[in-house]
Symmetry: C2
DNA sequence: GCATAAGCGATAGTATTACTATTATAATTG
DNA sequence: CAATTATAATAGTAATACTATCGCTTATGC
């Protein structure tokens, strides 16, 4: 699939509560973002430290701390970036499609598949970022500070994505009681299933790299909505 | 619901790869387990340390290290205990029920609701433990060491639960392609939805403490199987 | 019932992590 | 070109996640 966003020069703007200093405002900031994505992808978020990142980019830890309070804040930034980018992608994939069923089908596909092509939006490698989101993003909101961060608006982008797809669900079945539950189940579920397929295959039925995750959630949703 | 397991004096046996020294074999070991459950429940797994636990039970850290290599191992033990206990519960809830639909319905209910009554099996507070599982258990398998621990068998109990319910699914629809995906989606999904309802309500449709999570997943499963 | 071993508490110590602070130099901006 | 701001270099601290030692106590085995 040719990606329409390619070379469109779209700017992903991230709210200021998600950083101390905007990483998009300097060369060092952009270096922090794209190298952190590679490093987290490589060694996992738990083993990731600002010290290691500093070594990788040949800058002292203290410089990184000017952009983000700690590695958790950085993860919040990355997830927010991802969901903002996903929102654009969803808009592109569904625009000009008349049938709400077809739109939902395309949205589910986009949400349940990991990204395989770098759209080269901004300075971010979206292929690696999507891998990080799939496997580490729960760690962004499964903390004791969720409520506080939620109040500050750190999860706005994710919520907008869920809301957008929920609206699509209600177009198809306006009586449906659980649009948000359904959508968040699909998103989180597909992340889990991919992880299971790679690490705990007894918990899933995926043959690596087939389309069963997308097929499963697509069928699940439409059976539920059109019973 | 009167709980049949109450006062049955059932022993939950945990495989030896899940501890260095069996906590069930000494008073200190049992103290470690039930106090760790309370402490993790209170301050969350991330803030939990062996030092704090040691202070709570008036024992040095080093004594706790004799039972578990680190706090991650302890969490693995607790999750394994929980799934072993859940397996027994599932057996009880479904035994003597002829209809596979009714058995599945009861299993889903048991898997999607957090425990409200302590069955007083062994030395463990199952109400608090189930809260920990719902909110922290992803952290037990979302690590770089999953594969190694999986090989050792640390997730056997969880897999048995998924397998048991999957078999029930196949009884109802032997052609169904994704029994494990369906069951693990229900389990992980209900955990997420409960968490969302408490912290990120925009991602769900739950009114606190209603039965919507159980209703949602029950409907979802049966619509999918009986389309 | 006595010897042996195992379990535990008390204490000390180390490497790593997650920061904070200070200052000099380099780059930007007005 | 002056003023501001960003960065690098360095140092330092408190907490975490352990490991090691040792002496006392309590089981267990004969």
């Amino acid at each position: 699939m040719a990606n329409l966003m390619h070379n469109l020069n779209i700017q992903i703007e991230i709210d200021s509560e998600l950083y101390s200093k905007n990483p998009d405002s300097s060369a060092l900031g952009r270096k922090i973002i794209n190298n952190s994505i590679e490093l987290i992808y490589e060694i996992g978020f738990d083993a990731f430290t600002f010290k290691k990142l500093g070594t990788l980019i040949s800058s002292p830890e203290s410089s990184i701390y000017r952009y983000f309070d700690n590695k958790h804040s950085l993860l919040l930034y990355l997830t927010s970036w991802y969901w903002t980018w996903t929102e654009y992608q969803l808009a592109f994939v569904t625009t000009n499609i008349v049938s709400p069923q077809e739109r939902l089908k395309r949205s589910i596909k986009m949400l349940t598949k990991s990204v395989v092509e770098d759209t080269a939006v901004s300075f971010v490698n979206e292929v690696l970022l999507s891998e990080i989101i799939f496997s580490e993003s729960i760690k962004a909101y499964h903390t004791k500070s969720v409520d506080e961060e939620n109040k500050k608006g750190c999860f706005r982008a994710y919520k907008r994505v869920v809301q957008r797809v929920s609206d699509n669900v209600l177009e198809i079945n306006p009586e449906f009681l659980y649009p948000h539950m359904l959508v968040s189940t699909v998103i989180e579920g597909s992340h889990h299933q991919k992880y299971f397929s790679e690490h705990l295959p007894a918990l899933t039925d995926v043959k690596k790299n087939d389309n069963s995750i997308t097929n499963f959630y697509t069928e699940m949703v439409f059976n539920f909505l059109e019973k």
